[in-house]
């Protein structure tokens, strides 16, 4: 089974639109949305939810006023300044470390488990999909990413599908690290801008750090052909495969507004032909 993760470093380079387009082309696959913090793939995939479950992770401390003697020990020990002078714990500042819970001489601190979000197994017109939504302002996105990836693998195993197509989050931090560890490969979707290149270089470094093979494709390449050439030269110097270039094409937004992939919107677009070529190269590379 192959697991391909789309990442980009920089946000807004077109990961989700491209993975939706690939979903139109690939067969026998499971879709997975690992951008749990701001998941968007469902807006095109229009999943029919088959099962849902709460995502519980971590704890938040809360002081029980009736038991609290206001001795001040918790405020002294808390490294996150989460406890104010009225002995109220701000849940947004609480890291869930449990130090106040353990040391409180009055045992006045409760420590309930957090419900941080929800995850789903769904059916779509492209096949099964595993996705999630982290609660707003919640933590532990990395753990939720790990969970949806595990569930996607289980599902692919059960259904004997040989490919998992995963939409990854932007950045290089915790959710991205959780998205790429142990994957068959990452496809880095970049754009020809100084920001795009800068962020791509960091995400390549991350893929190397975790020893995940990386490939590159350039979206909106014609907005700056010189930088596109620079990106491809950089990728080659890093011994990464360049899978192709996709032109700037308003079809991506038009299709998105209709809740469609670019192929469903119009099967004969410039961008569509480019994505087909990339898919062809990708299939070869992954031995699909």
């Amino acid at each position: 089974m192959k697991e391909l993760i789309l990442i980009s470093g920089k946000g807004g380079t077109g990961k989700t639109s491209i993975i939706a387009a690939l979903a139109s082309l690939a067969e026998n696959k499971v879709l997975c949305d690992a951008d749990v913090d701001a998941a968007d793939l469902h807006l095109v995939a229009n999943p029919q939810v088959l099962s849902r479950a709460e995502f519980r992770s971590g704890h938040t401390a809360a002081i029980r006023k009736s038991k609290c003697s206001e001795c001040g020990l918790c405020r002294e020990l808390c490294r996150y300044s989460a406890i104010d002078a009225d002995y109220h714990i701000n849940p947004l500042d609480c890291e869930g470390c449990g130090v106040c819970v353990y040391f409180c001489p009055e045992k006045a601190v409760d420590f309930p488990e957090n419900t941080c979000g929800e995850w789903f197994i769904s059916d779509t017109r492209f096949g099964p999909m595993v996705h999630a939504q982290l609660g707003i302002a919640e933590e532990n996105s990395g753990k939720l990413v790990t969970l949806v990836r595990q569930e996607a693998r289980k599902l692919a195993d059960e259904m004997k599908h040989d490919l998992i197509l995963t939409d990854g989050p932007p950045g290089v931090g915790c959710p991205v690290i959780a998205s790429i560890g142990g994957a068959s490969a990452v496809l880095i979707v970049t754009e020809p801008s100084l920001s795009g290149i800068h962020d791509m270089q960091r995400v390549i470094e991350l893929a190397n750090h975790f020893k995940v093979p990386a490939m590159v494709c350039v979206n909106k390449f014609d907005l700056n052909p010189d930088l596109t050439a620079d990106i491809e030269a950089f990728a080659k110097a890093e011994e990464l495969t360049c899978l192709g270039r996709i032109p700037y094409d308003p079809i991506f937004i038009k299709a998105m507004v209709q809740g469609q992939t670019i192929f469903e919107y119009n099967n004969d677009s410039r961008a569509g032909h480019a994505v087909k070529e990339i898919w062809h190269a990708l299939s070869k590379k992954l031995n699909l």
């Binding site: 470093g9 920089k10 946000g11 807004g12 989700t16 913090d37 701001a38 968007d40 807006l43 971590g58 704890h59 020990l77 490294r79 996150y80 947004l92 890291e95 869930g96 470390c97 449990g98 130090v99 353990y102 040391f103 982290l134 707003i136 302002a137 919640e138 933590e139 996105s141 990395g142 989050p169 932007p170 950045g171 290089v172 931090g173 915790c174 959710p175 991205v176 690290i177 754009e191 020809p192 801008s193 100084l194 920001s195 795009g196 800068h198 962020d199 960091r202 470094e205 991350l206 750090h209 975790f210 907005l223 700056n224 930088l227 700037y248 308003p250 937004i253 998105m256 507004v257 809740g259």
Partner: protein
């Protein structure tokens, strides 16, 4: 005054708005790039960096001569960063959140403070803008502690503009909290709208006055505007899609340098923000 620029969805134009606003308003001003995973504002501001500081997080190390393998440290650690098995103690320092529980609890004072590199903070100047950004070490998972360190440079004598990361989870909260105003930047597409709703939810939790900038405002559909009207979220600026703007952006050029008329619009945006942050703050207090 502290103004954070956030969005939910990535790539909507946060950095464009943050850098052009900073350049248009001018001194006394500082720009803090809190998107420490992928900082980009320096590519437009081009500051000459004067200082670079490596930032660490304290993590436990064990003095094995003192350790009795009692296991209390592993028991208190909520993050599974310490494991004690028979006569062995293992520390997974990349999982440590620096809560200090193990130091406090160890009866033998066998836990000594080591450190883990979070990244670097660089400080510089450009055209009267004091510029500070953090760069998370590649491989480091936790960005909020570095974001907090970048925010320690806030100067109350100056207008502080914060370029926040995308999303709505802990790094975004760390970047926005205790701001006087959050400027949300979105694009009028289904993805932009969906993630804007999440970002508005986060701003509501923090109870900070906010307003909206719609970028590439002539693409997509009008659902973002409808949502803004329903929510009473004021639309403070619209930037149409313009290939000239996109190409300038790709080269790291500032909008106000390429099309100087935009400076006036960013100054108007600043006026609106000042006005709204005062009024909306008064409203929440009443």
């Amino acid at each position: 005054m502290i103004v954070s620029i956030a969005s939910g969805k990535g790539g909507t134009g946060k950095t464009t708005v943050a850098t052009n606003l900073a350049r248009s308003v001018g001194a006394p001003i500082q720009l803090l790039d809190c998107d420490v995973e992928e900082p980009n504002a320096h590519l437009f501001i081009n500051p000459s960096f004067e200082s670079s500081q490596t930032v660490f997080l304290p993590v436990p190390e064990v003095d094995e001569d003192r350790c009795t393998y009692c296991g209390k440290c592993a028991e208190i650690c909520q993050f599974k960063a310490i494991a004690v098995v028979n006569q062995n103690i293992l520390i997974f320092d990349e999982l440590c959140h620096s809560c200090g529980g193990c130091w406090e609890i160890c009866p033998e004072s066998a836990i000594i403070q080591g450190r883990r590199e979070l990244g670097i903070i660089e400080k510089g100047q450009s055209n009267g803008i004091e510029f500070i950004h953090g760069r998370l070490r590649v491989g480091e998972a936790m960005s909020p502690p570095l974001i907090k360190q970048v925010r320690a440079y806030q100067d109350p004598q100056k207008l502080t503009i914060i370029d926040a990361p995308p999303g709505t989870s802990c790094p975004v909260i760390a970047s926005m909290k205790e701001s006087d105003f959050v400027l949300l930047v979105t694009e009028p597409t289904p993805f932009g709208l969906h993630d804007l709703k999440l970002a508005v939810g986060a701003v509501e939790i923090l109870q900070i006055p906010s307003g909206l900038v719609i970028n590439r405002s002539d693409l997509g559909d009008d659902a973002v505007k409808k949502f803004a009207r329903q929510k009473g979220l004021p639309i403070l600026m619209e930037i149409p899609f313009d290939r000239q703007i996109a190409e300038a952006y790709s080269k790291g050029e500032m909008l106000v340098d390429v099309i100087p008329q935009w400076k006036e619009k960013f100054l108007e945006l600043h006026d609106k923000i000042r006005h709204l942050s005062k009024n909306q703050t008064l409203n929440t207090k009443h």
